[in-house]
C-alpha cells in the first residue's frame, strides 16, 4: 500500500499530511498516557509495534502473481484503541521511507492515513461490533485484522484514484484499476494477517492474563489462566 515517493501531486501530499497530523498528535498523547498511568502495559505496546514491524516487512506472494505485504495494525488497534496506532504506523512507514526507499516522505501522510488510521479504526470498530454480536473471540479478532488489512489497501486505491483520475472513466475507472492491483492481491494476504493476529491474540490471552484483564477490550471474553 506504499504510494511511492513523489507519486502524489503536491496538493494531495500536503492534504494527506494535514489530515493525518491530528491523529498522530492525539495518538502520541494516548501512548504517553498509557506509559504513565499503566506502565505494566508498556511491553504489550511494544509487542503491538513489533507485530506491525514484522508483518509490514513480509512481502508475500498472492494469487494475482504479484507480491504485497500485510499491515499488522489490527492487533494494536484491538488492544489499545485505534488512535494509538497512528504514531506506530508513522514510525514503521518512516523507517521504510528513509532506509528502504519504500514509500516516501512526500507520500508519508497518505500512507499513514491508510495504514495507521483507516486500518486501525476499521479493526477497532469491527472487533467491537463482533463482540457486541457475541461472536467467538478468535473469529472477532480474525475479522477485525483481515478487514482492516483489506480496507487499508482499498484506501490506497482511492487515494491514487483521486490523485490520478482516468481521462475517460474518471475516479471510478481509475479506482478499479488500482483496486485491481492492490485490493485483489491483498485478499489472501488479509486472510493470512487475520490468522496470524489470532495466533498472537490467542497466545497473549493464554499467558498474559493480568495485563489483559484490566483492558476493557477483552472484557466481554473470559480470560483463562
Amino acid at each position: 500500500m506504499h504510494i511511492m515517493e513523489g507519486f502524489l501531486p503536491v496538493s494531495h501530499a500536503v492534504g494527506w499530511s494535514l489530515a493525518s497530523l491530528p491523529f498522530v498528535g492525539y495518538g502520541l498523547h494516548v501512548i504517553k498516557k498509557i506509559m504513565q498511568e499503566k506502565p505494566q502495559q508498556r511491553m504489550l505496546l511494544g509487542v503491538a509495534t513489533a507485530f506491525t514491524f514484522v508483518l509490514s516487512a513480509l512481502k508475500m506472494p498472492s494469487v494475482t502473481g504479484s507480491c504485497s505485504h500485510p499491515t499488522g495494525t489490527g492487533l494494536g488497534a484491538i488492544l489499545f484503541g485505534p488512535v494509538a496506532m497512528a504514531p506506530i504506523g508513522l514510525v514503521v512507514l518512516l523507517f521504510q521511507a528513509l532506509l528502504l526507499a519504500h514509500g516516501g516522505l512526500t507520500t508519508l501522510g497518505a500512507n499513514v492515513f491508510s495504514m495507521g488510521i483507516v486500518g486501525p479504526f476499521a479493526a477497532y470498530g469491527i472487533f467491537r461490533l463482533a463482540s457486541t454480536l457475541r461472536l467467538p473471540f478468535g473469529l472477532s479478532v480474525f475479522l477485525a485484522a483481515a478487514l482492516a488489512d483489506l480496507l487499508t489497501y482499498v484506501t490506497t486505491s482511492m487515494q491514487l484514484a483521486w490523485a490520478f483520475p482516468d481521462p475517460t472513466g474518471g475516479f471510478t475507472a481509475s479506482f478499479l484499476k488500482f483496486a485491481g492491483i492492490f485490493a485483489i492481491t491483498q485478499i489472501p494476504l488479509a486472510i493470512s494477517e487475520g490468522l496470524l493476529t489470532v495466533v498472537v491474540a490467542n497466545t497473549l490471552k493464554r499467558f498474559n492474563y493480568p495485563e489483559l484483564q484490566e483492558m476493557k477490550v477483552f472484557a466481554g471474553y473470559e480470560v483463562r489462566v
Binding site: H2, F7, G46, V54, L160, P188, L195, V198, V199, F207
Partner: protein
C-alpha cells in the same frame, strides 16, 4: 485445544503462501523474448498504472536513500522483521515464565 488451534492457523498461513507459488503460472515470454516478471511488488505495478493514466506525470521528489542493490534491500527488510520478531519472542518468553511462576505459587 488452544495450542492445536494455533497450529492449524499457522498451517493455514503456510498454505496461503505456498498456493500462489504453485497455482500462478509464469507468464509467457513477451514480444521481445524477454522473460516477463512474476511476483513483482504491487507498489511498483501501481506506479506503472499512474504513468499509464498520466504519461506526463513526473515524480517531484526522489527517495532520500535508495538501497544500492536488491540484496541490501532484503537485508534491511530482514532486519526489520528480525527486530520485531525478536521483541515478540522476548515478551512471550517472559510472559510464559511469569504464568508458570504464578501457577506454582
Amino acid at each position: 485445544m488452544n495450542r492445536y488451534q494455533n497450529l492449524w492457523l499457522i498451517l493455514g498461513v503456510v498454505a496461503l503462501l505456498v498456493l500462489p507459488l504453485v497455482l500462478v503460472e509464469k507468464p509467457a515470454l513477451g514480444p521481445d523474448q524477454k522473460e516477463a516478471g512474476i511476483f513483482a511488488g504491487a507498489d511498483d505495478q501501481a506506479k506503472e498504472v499512474v504513468t499509464q493514466i498520466q504519461p506526463d506525470y513526473a515524480p517531484w521528489f526522489q527517495p532520500v536513500l535508495e538501497p544500492p542493490s536488491g540484496e541490501i534491500a532484503s537485508l534491511l527488510f530482514a532486519l526489520q522483521a528480525a527486530l520485531g520478531a525478536g521483541f515478540i519472542g522476548y515478551y512471550l518468553g517472559t510472559a510464559v515464565t511469569a504464568a508458570r511462576v504464578r501457577q506454582k505459587s
